[in-house]
Symmetry: C2
Subunit: 103 residues, 2 copies
């Protein structure tokens, strides 16, 4: 279910913002080119998914990232990782040579 929550670009943007530290709803609204109700709605989805925590501070609500669901996602990804990490060295070398050629 974390996947469907992360499918929304606005929600990923919110997470990216929270990655660097807590924010109030208002700060997120300013940063997001979305209406305040829109932000609140996305925050609710993120809360329900356990991806963020809320802490009241006067009238403000301060949101913080909760990385646990992302860790689960990472765990889901784990068995696939060997499929590309095996060839990662070769790929990196390939990209490097492309960049080299572009210079």
């Amino acid at each position: 279910m974390t996947f469907s929550v992360l499918a929304e670009p606005a929600r990923r943007e919110i997470l990216d913002l929270l990655r660097t530290g807590e924010r109030s709803v208002g700060q997120l609204v300013d940063a997001l080119a979305l209406s305040q109700p829109g932000v609140s709605k996305h925050l609710k989805v993120l809360r329900d998914a356990g991806l963020v925590d809320v802490r009241p501070e006067a009238q403000r609500r301060i949101y913080a990232l909760r990385p646990e669901p992302l860790a689960e996602l990472d765990a889901w990804l784990a068995p696939y990782r060997r499929l590309w990490s095996e060839r990662l060295d070769a790929l990196e070398r390939h990209l490097d040579s492309e960049q080299e050629a572009a210079t």
Copy 2:
């Protein structure tokens, strides 16, 4: 966009099946409790997202996993990883002690 593609449980199931090796559409239909057209449609989505490759073999079409988009997902996840890996040792120790307590 990979996120929305992976949001579908059936599609994740398909990827899980392909992780252990290539499969024909028929084999996937048998494994998936979905109609054949349903499987074909999901496969089209996976193809468009670059998550699978097709190879014709007589009347069959053999599908194989393409891990590149998953590697991108892994890259997206990377900056978040430190948020839980920092506490991973402590968490593991905690889980270990819980298991210890249960024994």
